[in-house]
């Protein structure tokens, strides 16, 4: 009899345990994604600061496009080539005021960027900036698909 009761108890308790775990997992899902997105943005700042093309290659999605503070659009290939050749060189990069919104496999991260940049040709880059990035989670990994940069207090 005890054996039967024990089996019943286990049978009833297991789904409850699994349910609790599932709910817990779901409850943490958005928070986990938000943390992952924040980490990606922090990794971006570090990679730009080191001019680390290999790291940026992982952070930027293949169809990544950025509109810089001069309104010029650049794709991933061109941006990485410019950093690799040294025609675009980040001397310092600090991101602050990071705000993240996550919905499903998409996220928007907005932040303030302060950077010193050396670039050959074109207008000067860097300064006190406001940035919006759009990220998409593919195969469990957040990557930046688009970014837009605007100077703060231009007018």
């Amino acid at each position: 009899m005890k054996q039967i009761l024990f089996t019943m108890a286990i049978t009833l308790a297991l789904p409850a345990l699994i349910l609790c775990q599932t709910n817990g997992k779901n409850a943490n899902k958005n928070g986990g994604d938000e943390q992952s997105v924040r980490q990606t943005i922090n990794d971006l700042a570090a990679a730009l600061g080191r001019n680390d093309v290999a790291a940026l290659d992982r952070i930027y999605a293949d169809d990544y496009v950025v509109t810089n503070e001069n309104g010029e659009m650049t794709n991933k290939t061109t941006r990485l080539a410019a950093i690799k050749s040294g025609s675009l060189k980040f001397e310092s990069v600090v991101f602050s005021e990071i705000n993240v919104s996550v919905y499903g496999n998409a996220a928007v991260a907005r932040f303030r960027g302060t950077s010193k940049v050396q670039s050959t040709g074109g207008q000067p880059l860097g300064g006190d900036l406001r940035v919006t990035t759009t990220l998409v989670k593919t195969k469990g990994r957040w990557q930046i698909v688009a970014a837009h940069v605007t100077r703060i207090g231009e007018q």
Binding site: A61, D63, V65, T67, N68, E69, N70, G71, E72, M73, N99, S101, Y103, G104, N105, A106, V108, R110, D128, L129, R130, T132, T134, V136, K137, T138, V145, A146, A147, H148, V149, T150, R151, I152, G153, E154, Q155
Partner: protein, 273 residues
């Protein structure tokens, strides 16, 4: 979608060159014809529908005859009459019209809002119709029509155009409806972050006058449940001090598909020369 529109533009341009211009008055009359067709359907006016549709009318892609079309329309009218609270709201806009003395093509977007959409919520559907007309016995008649639903690219493209129109008309209801509640914008002039409420208040209190606005160089990408639209937004008008302005912004708009519809999630612009 862009390809489809390009084909339309090329077709209409060629038709215009080959047969002469379709005058503004002709286009107005043809748009009025189309509206009269919609009204006849809404009011269940069988006689009007009988005049509007040619006897050999065919509705594509299902090859619907004139008789079948009128019967279907009348059935919908009767259903709406019995349940007015469930009647879908229908409107047409974004007309493109071309004509020769004896033939005409009318194409427009359809916006249908149903109160009983997914999950019992209000839902809006978009499609585009093409009507082919001939002048018979001195009056225009529809000889065939085709209709297709807009894909996500088409919906987003029109949302961008609608947004531009809303900016010009100071239509805060568009922002109210289409901005996500967690929307954020970044001003191209100051870099300041704004919320949905702040953008709506900004539009309400804006004392400047926008005389012209257009979005060009539009590029739309859909990534999972999000979309990124980039382009150039040009506005001309007078600022609050009456000084003329002519601004060009390189912009990035991020959309999210939430509750079955696309909503503006983020927007940022950068002034360009």
């Amino acid at each position: 979608m862009k390809t489809i529109i390009s084909i339309f533009v090329v077709t209409f341009t060629f038709a215009g060159l080959a047969f002469g211009e379709c005058s503004v008055a002709d286009k107005k009359a043809l748009e009025a014809f189309d509206h009269a067709w919609s009204v006849a359907g809404e009011k269940g006016d069988r006689a009007a529908l009988n005049n509007i549709l040619a006897d050999d009318y065919v509705g594509l892609p299902a090859m619907i005859s004139k008789t079948q079309n009128i019967e279907d329309t009348m059935r919908t009218f009767e259903q709406n009459k019995a349940n007015p609270q469930n009647t879908d709201l229908f409107s047409s806009d974004n007309y493109m019209i071309s004509c020769t003395p004896m033939t005409a093509t009318i194409t427009h977007r359809n916006v249908v809002t149903t109160k009983n959409g997914m999950g019992g919520k209000e839902e809006t559907f978009y499609s585009r119709s093409v009507h082919f007309l001939e002048k018979r016995g001195g009056k225009w008649q529809a000889v065939s029509s085709a209709n297709h639903n807009l894909d996500d690219y088409g919906v987003l493209m029109y949302m961008e155009y609608d947004w531009v129109n809303a900016e010009v008309k100071r239509d805060t209801s568009w922002l109210e409806k289409n901005f996500a509640n967690d929307y954020s914008g970044i001003s191209s002039l100051t870099g300041k972050i704004t919320s949905k409420a702040e953008d709506i208040a900004g539009m309400k209190n804006d004392k400047s006058v926008t005389e012209f606005a257009e979005a060009t160089d539009m590029h739309i990408r859909i990534e999972s449940n999000s979309a990124i639209v980039t382009g150039i937004y040009r506005t001309k008008g007078r600022d609050e001090k009456g000084q003329p302005f002519d601004r060009r912004n390189s912009y990035t708009d991020t959309y999210i598909k939430r509750d079955g519809r696309w909503q503006v999630w983020a927007s940022q612009g950068t002034l360009i020369p």
